[in-house]
Amino acid sequence: MHTNQYAIIFYIFFWVVRINGCVRRGRQPLLRGPGWFFNVAVQPDFYTGAGRTILHRYWMRMFIPFAVDVPLAIAIFLSGHLLLLNWLILGACALIHINHSFSVDLAERQARPLAVPEAEQPVASIVLSLKPRRLRDYTNRKVEWALALSSLVALACLVRYYFAAPEHHNLRLVFGVPAFFLYLQAGMLFVKRVVVAWRTPVPQVQAEEHMEAREETRKYYLRTCDWCRAAAAAGILFWPIAISTPPTGFNRVFGIWFAAWMMIAVVATIWVEIRRKQLVKLALRARPVKLPDFLHQSEIARWPVCYQPSAPMLLLKGARGYSLNLANTLTHLGAAYLAGLIALFALLPKGP
């Protein structure tokens, strides 16, 4: 099989998972029952009145990523550069998640004027955990050691391979791919830091249920990041084998690696589905409430980006949706990471 065919198989797998995700997101507004629209307690006639339009618009917005990536996929197929499908999948995943977050926020904001008035009153008492949240508290040392060791072994093999005949090997070709995967791993660590910093205020009523739902969701996201890091480590491990295999045996080696990688992807997808169902059960136990807004975020965050040095949050929930706080250290780190990624792309070899 040619590498292009593997890219097509992976793209088909992406669509299978994606359709399942669409069905799940489509059902999300009604998960709590007919008295609810997402986390907004709505009046009984909501779904027969104006709420129907809000729900339909939410469903329509789910198709925005399709409108972006389907034409791109067609263009890639017509051009014949099928390996670009992998990049398309990465971009589509990010787009789907960002679109969903904004779409849910917009739908909830549109539904709030039609909500049960009492439910829209912020709760008087909130509780906070005094337990420090650090990245190391959510780190599995065995996983970290395994990832670090596998990367080190692969890099040692590459160094040995390169210095065996430096005049015959291209430095950027030998080390470019592992450097890219290492950078991806660093990106995932950054995402983990953002997830750890995710704020956890909960109402005093049902505090335990709210806290448990939030913590389990946090752990789920962190483990998902570790799955991605493991996939990146697998890429680093594979590279010395791929680069030292003679061209005649390359397809066979790549086939074995692809099969192993697909198996990991299938297992991870099943795990994600099981965990999601468990998390939904946990989330449904806690009744959603409106928390007090001490910072008056709707007034200070009017645009998609804002500069609020005194606000400790990365994202503020403004009047028109989320607003990225440019004064936050995590924003600076994210910007530096993206700049580094662009620089890395410029340095990577453009072909074999």
């Binding site: 008492s125 906070l128 955990s129 005094l130 205020p201 001490f294 005194s310």
Partner: protein, 126 residues
Amino acid sequence: MLLTINTADSRPIYQQVADGIKELIARGKLVEGASLPPVRQLAADLGVNLNTIATAYRELQEEGLIVIKHGSGSVVASCTMTERSQDELLRPLRTALTELILAGRSPSKILSMVARELTLVGKQSK
């Protein structure tokens, strides 16, 4: 180890945070050397200005209840580190007693209330 903040409370938020931490220390739920969350984490969780939590921590530090180590966070201080005069320590008790008298409680009633609260705090700190 949970800290409760009430919007209906007349005390400012920084004071509620400081009082809440003091109560947890008095009850023995926050023991000597226990780490407190960084200012940024607590401020983000609560959704308040960074200065609000920094002020609460500063107050606790001035009272010798916590030690702020720059770079490594804040920890609950040793009880022996509290170098405050008796008068200083009695001041909040006097305020509370004044409030109870002004609220119309009789001295005997106040005494029983204080004894009950003291037993409660004492039990939890053991």
